[in-house]
Amino acid sequence: MKFRAERSEFADAVMWAQRTVGDRATLPALSGIKLRVDGDRLFLASTNLEIDSALSVPVQGERDGAVLVLGKLLADVVRTLPNAAVTAEVTADVLHLTCGRAQFDLRLMPVEDFPALKEPSADGAVAVMKAEEFARTVAQVARSASTDDARPVLTGVNLEATAGSLTAVATDSYRLAMRTVPWDQGADTTVLVPRRAMEQARHAAEILGSEVSLLLEPAQVTFSFSDRRLVTRLIEGKFPDVRQLIPAGFERRLTVDRAELMEVVKRVAVVGDSNTSVTPVTLHLSADTVLVKAGSGEIGQAEEALPGALEGEDLQIAFNPRYLADGLDAAGSERVVLEFRDELKPAVLRPAPADAEAGPASSRPEADFLYLLMPVRV
């Protein structure tokens, strides 16, 4: 095998493949990245048995062939290469890399040990989304997924496709994020995708732009980009029925500047910051003011007020500042609407419709985002 590649393209491809390299302990071959040259294309593949990554980049191919090299080592090497063309050549059991005057010999691993990657079915109905919208949706939703393996179903993003719309939901049981986007594929399907697979797909969407096509199948989901593909296994188990958690009405509604509230919450929360426990921030809501307070007599206290329009009676309600800031960050709009029942019931956070363009929902890209947040009992 022998090829010549652009340093930046090659490095970018290796780094991306490295993100789904598996754990050496289970099966040594999983810690490798497979490189294969076919004509003038270099194909890279890696798998951690949950997510399979495959991509290709254009190269000047001189000799076809396939090898397996330790992913981390290869990534560390290409990261440091000078900005010049890279030449790669295999001799015996070594991958010889030359870039400028730098030379590396990387030991090969038995390529036949590398598992066969999952393939999307050829006849599946594929839906296409704008990469930007896909990346934004994942960014808004995935962070609410749990990182706690004790409840596997909560570590995923639930994708529910119906005729015309796709709804992505994640919750760690303390907060929930939900986003609905238009969907050009008709079949009703629901899949529970590991959070890490969603993040990997988002990363691809962000660096590649253009479009992403999604193929939802009963046992796997495929995200395809121009020259990259991710196939992920699904999380087994049933995602909770979250729609019944969303309150049907509200007793109080607050409209407030999003960035300002986020800044105040983050600033005030500093005094409550402690390693062992989360100290809540308390919002004191009155007709035209939001007073944000945090802290205790032990460490210190802070408060700051900002304008906010409240419909309904005054309310004091406390939240984990991180969860509140996450929701505000995800909403993305200029102003947000927060709906409350009382201080122990979930609050609903939505982007506020922009005054100038309060048109139909489809013309307001953020209107289909919802963030549900459980308060802290103090």
Binding site: D149, D172, Y174, L245, S277, P280, A318, L344, P346, P375
Partner: protein, 391 residues
């Protein structure tokens, strides 16, 4: 130090046959009978023996099977540490009513420095007697008290005062008191050190006190020699270090027979989680970090920890988290000898509590209700169906 500080300010209070005495208090039918507290299983040992049982030569840490051969009519009770802990807590409150300087050594013994309490409660020996009487009157349990110039001597005294006695060792009598004692009575002298000393003809504390320093160093080494020499003349400068709130708690179970069934391990974890969660709730704290401990049949021990996003005092959650750690070890028919669960990173539970969207805190309410029932009707009143014995 105030000029009025007494010469013998240190008390060592030690409960007599603590677990057995608590059991006799809970079940009056046991009073006056040989009672053994401990496990009955294949590897069970005596955790505590009543004085009636000690007559037969039974002592704690003796294998239960052997104890029962010595005294077949003994009543065996399995330990109820939650109950002992309750008593221990009340004991501690009693100690703290006479001095803030209380250093617990275990559930049933503590050092107290009452040097500053004289004007309120009288001289140390009077305080000692007062404590012993209050423990009898308020807890219904026997305790022995040593009153001495320092911790080492106070502990020796309480040992000599048993059962339910008080020994006051005056500063001027230390040499005479110590001299007669066998070296084994000195703090830190175990079987091996004792054997080594005896080979050189050193049998009593007086023998050690009369031995030249360099000779002692040759027999037991530098570090031990220095400690031995000062203890032999009754010197001990260690202060009473007051109790600090627990940084963590743990519980573990050694199986009668090694276990290789994952279902049994998970079930045992649930039992451990229940125990820990109850202790957390009793202490009004919640834990953020949990640690799973496994000792394999070959005695290799592994621990795995996880820190949660939010603190918990909740058995269901502790169980789910620890079971996930267990699963991650991917044990396949590996024989396990011991399973343990510990928690750390404790925070006050009464403080703010993040509410959940899902499962509605119902398990939490169930667990608290179970606490109330157990406190009123005993530990067997409520348990999980999964923990009921098969059949």
């Amino acid at each position: 130090m105030t000029p009025s500080r007494p010469a013998e300010p240190i008390l060592h209070v030690d409960m007599d046959a603590f677990y057995a005495s608590v059991e006799a208090l809970r079940d009056p039918a046991l009073a006056g009978r040989p009672v053994l507290v401990g496990g009955l299983g294949g590897r069970g040992v005596v955790a505590s023996a009543s004085y009636e049982a000690r007559v037969y030569g039974i002592h704690s840490a003796m294998p239960m099977a052997r104890a029962l051969r010595l005294c077949p009519q003994a009543v065996v009770v399995s330990p109820d540490f939650a109950a002992y802990q309750d008593v221990s807590q009340r004991l501690r409150e009693l100690f703290l009513s006479v001095t803030p300087l209380v250093e617990p050594l275990s559930l049933d013994e503590a050092f107290l420095d009452v040097g500053g309490s004289e004007r309120l409660f009288g001289p140390p020996e009077v305080i000692g007697a007062l404590l012993r009487d209050r423990i009898r009157g308020e807890l219904g349990l026997p305790a022995s008290v040593g009153v001495a110039p320092n911790k080492h001597l106070a502990k020796l005294c309480s040992g000599k005062a048993k059962p339910e006695g008080l020994l006051h060792l005056r500063a001027g009598e230390v040499a005479a008191f110590l001299g007669r004692l066998p070296i084994r009575d000195l703090w830190g002298v175990g079987e091996q050190t004792a054997a080594r000393l005896e080979r050189f003809g050193l049998r009593t504390v007086a023998d050690v006190a009369g031995t030249a320093g360099p000779t002692l160093v040759r027999i037991v080494g530098h570090a031990a020699a220095a400690q031995l020499a000062s203890l032999a003349v009754g010197e001990d400068r260690r202060p009473v270090v007051p109790y600090e709130p627990a940084k963590g708690m743990s519980t573990e179970e050694t199986f009668d027979r090694d276990v290789d069934d994952p279902a049994v391990l998970r079930r045992e974890l649930l039992r451990l989680a229940e125990t820990i969660a109850r202790r957390l709730r009793r202490g009004e704290v919640a834990a953020r970090t949990l640690t799973l401990k496994i000792r394999y049949a070959n005695f290799a021990t592994v621990t795995r920890s996880r820190t949660l996003a939010l603190p918990t005092d909740h058995a269901t959650e502790l169980h789910a988290e620890s079971a996930a750690l267990l699963d991650a070890l991917r044990l396949e028919r590996v024989r396990v000898r011991l399973l343990g669960l510990g928690v750390a990173n404790l925070v006050p539970a009464g403080a703010a509590r993040q509410l959940r969207l899902l499962d509605d805190d119902r398990w939490q309410q169930v667990e608290r209700a179970a606490d109330v029932a157990r406190n009123r009707f005993g530990d067997a009143a409520v348990t999980r169906a999964a923990l009921l014995d098969d059949g």
